[in-house]
Subunit: 468 residues, 2 copies
């Protein structure tokens, strides 16, 4: 905790410099801002929460905190899964939730300019009204904010064809560690003027500055998709299907894997009868235009069948297609019925997906932990879901050991500890293993250069040691 | 110049630590490595040129130069257009020209691993043999290297649909300013482990390290393209056509503009009769699959016609299509017959292209300078070509004034000083205007963090003051 005089002086200044309603200090109110959705990640008690509405207000908060040496933890909707937005004791939590203006959607330049608190789905809906499309589609899209998506470089289902958040961020406005409000990037389609500070900020998880405005690239309206479903009796067969899709030169607009644990959980809840039919379900989509889409869907179905699918079908109507994806969506809530779910996020080379799934099964058995898997199979991005019975401390210890082994196995297979959720707190050890000391030192040199006082999100991502 | 004892000690060490044939000190041999293809950019005399063949040799060079305080200027093929690879007096030029191994092409993971001296077209050809495609296609592709392309974040014709070099670099190996050999990025499709040092290195023009290996993302084999040509009697009409293509939701795989000065130069050389037909020619391409490609080509043709094209045609055979693009390719050599050509590289919002072309015309008239234009119109990336009669010093002075005004006008229209060629030496003043002091300070903080001795490419890009 900060000493009381610092707390009093800072909250007095924030109260004075910000309009009414921006500052929360009642612990009952601030507690709701103390952590994101990462199971297991520790969090502290903020001394205050601020909800600024303008870049100028953000700047005032940053300068006040800088002057008082109080760290700032920025958060969007708090849907993160790595603890990146978790408060540390005595920090100020800066919530962007009220910065929700879509400032501009320009159809000709194919860009939008938004405040960081704009919810992903709101932006997508506003773009759709103009015949445009903002692709990044994390599962949290109905709640998560563009600012949070940028901070974690969020992915989603369509990334396999359309890339991740980084591929859509043209420019940013942010407040630096020295309290300056700056603009980086551009509004033009191309540009190489100076180092790519925009890309550096994307995925930096609130450790380098507070984003106050985001300029994103847009695409034309999305074409209708064709859906292909395949049932497989082993992960190896499903992995062979993923490889065959790539080898055939196909680029699906989604290629999702749901394993038998998920299928069983969905069946236990909704009785869809999936788990008796398949060990693994693969769901592919293509949005190639016109007959090419039909051909690509049929080619994908053939890849599934030739890889050994026990059932492979090209869905002919949209309703049926949506129903097929429903099982994937239901997997997470179905598993949550069994206990708290920790969502893992390793990403391995595509060829290693079956091997990785096999190793996860072995880890689950070794540590007597239920580990289900949904995966962006076309990306090699796996989401092992570790479920522990509520209140079972021994089970939780075993699951934590399993968690660390999953990370180690992903690295051994040439993968990364986090495909799209970020490092936050949960992957700090994994990050050190992945990067090695020299690259970690480069990361820290950048942190020191841009946030010399270590004002932003202490203890996260590349921070030295534990906590601040 | 370095003092003679430093020079002698360094060259002695390099000679001792490197295999035979790597070190060149004869001024007749080193002179050929002193500059790139940027007209007007100053350059000095290197004390030596090294041509290492392995990452370990690069590391030995960097450590030797670090120990002796001698700067390193890295170059690929020397096809740069901003002076970014120009030697400074007493530097070591490190040429990657002999690091030409394509280490790996992986069809399933859709990636290639190459040494930095691999020529762009060689990589593209090797990928094509495997049914794969490396999209970035700068005009220099027959000569320029992947290392140089990464250093400048090179663009090209297909960027309007497929993005620039940055969009294809997954990972890098490089030697840092402290002489460490490090790997950043990944081989997986996604990943957010730590700051995006890969993106930071891309476009850093040799100022942050020496790249020794590049891992690039690949796409499946390219589909055949349809070509559409439009003749316009004014830049305003052509600009309206570009806007109409965007508004129609089309994403051409190329959209190139050739202005009347280029057409006249091509006619004066090849007598193609273009300049009597048009003030501006627009060349569009689409590679949408199957009937969608034909529909998109026809839709593009309609956009051209409705915007006021005096002639708009969808080319039905590939030979005719290639002939249409020939005029664009011939523009540069046709202009070079008139005198040295300085290639400008501003990029403006697409809507501002006609206005920018108009302002360039006015600047040309005001400074009595011949300025022709080719442009990646779909990107808003213009290449004004400033031609001065050989040996005419007064004309050169006028052209330099015009050059600075073009940069100022591009910034005034919300553009950037460099779309794809880099800052090098020629755009340093422009960079300062574009970024402003706070963002420039952030850039310099990063330079200081990663290259604390300012060993790499002194005086370029974000360097303070002139030269080292």
């Amino acid at each position: 905790m900060r000493d009381e005089s610092t707390t009093a002086a800072l909250t007095e200044r924030l109260g004075r410099e910000l309009p009414a309603g921006r500052l929360l200090t009642d612990p009952a109110a601030t507690a709701g801002y103390a952590h994101d959705e990462a199971e297991w990640a520790p969090y502290g008690a903020p001394l205050a929460v601020v909800r600024p509405r303008t870049a100028a207000e953000v700047q005032r908060v940053v300068r006040a905190c800088r002057d008082h040496g109080v760290p700032i933890v920025t958060r969007g909707a708090g849907t993160g899964l790595s603890g990146g937005a978790n408060a540390v004791d005595g920090c100020v939590v800066l919530s962007t939730e009220t910065m929700t203006t879509i400032k501009e959607i320009d159809a000709l330049e194919r860009l939008a300019v938004v405040e960081p608190g704009v919810v992903n789905d709101h932006l997508r809906a506003a773009c759709a009204e103009r015949g445009l499309w903002y692709p990044p589609d994390p599962a949290s899209a109905p709640w998560s904010t563009i600012g949070g998506n940028v901070a974690t470089n969020a992915g989603g289902l369509c990334c396999v064809k359309y890339g991740v958040t980084r591929d859509y961020v043209l420019g940013l406005e942010f407040v630096t560690g020295t309290g300056e409000l700056v603009r980086v990037g551009r509004r033009t389609a191309k540009g190489v003027a100076g180092y790519d500070l925009t890309a550096l900020m994307v995925g930096s998880e609130g450790t380098l500055g507070v984003i106050t405005e985001v300029t994103v690239r847009l695409r034309p309206r999305r074409l209708p998709e064709h859906t292909v479903a395949g049932y497989f009796s082993s992960t190896v067969d499903a992995g062979r299907a993923v490889a065959a899709v790539g080898a055939a030169g196909l680029t699906p607009s989604a290629l999702e894997l749901v394993d038998r644990h998920c299928l069983a959980a969905v069946d236990a809840w909704k009785n869809m009868g999936l788990s008796t039919e398949a060990d693994v379900v693969l769901l592919g989509r293509t949005d190639a235009p016109g007959p090419a889409g039909e051909e690509e869907a049929e080619a994908m179905r053939r890849c599934f069948a030739e890889a050994g699918a026990t059932y492979a079908v090209r869905s002919t109507d949209q309703q049926e297609a949506d129903a097929l994806f429903e099982a994937r969506r239901l997997a997470y809530p179905a598993l949550e019925r069994l206990g708290p779910v920790l969502t893992e996020d390793v990403c391995v080379p595509k060829a290693a997906v079956p091997e990785m799934l096999g190793r996860i099964d072995a880890i689950a058995a070794r540590h007597e932990t239920l580990i289900a898997n949904i995966a962006h199979a076309g990306d090699g991005n796996l989401h092992p879901l570790l479920i522990t019975p509520p209140g079972d401390e021994a089970a939780r210890k075993r699951a934590q050991a399993a968690f660390h082994e999953i990370i180690a196995e992903a690295l051994a297979l040439g993968g990364t500890v986090t495909g799209e959720h970020g490092v936050g707190l949960l992957k700090r050890d994994g990050l050190e293993s992945e990067l090695g000391p020299e690259v970690l030192a480069l990361n820290r040199a950048i942190k020191d250069a841009l946030d010399p006082q270590h004002l932003f999100n202490p203890g996260k991502v590349v921070a030295r040691g534990a906590g601040r």
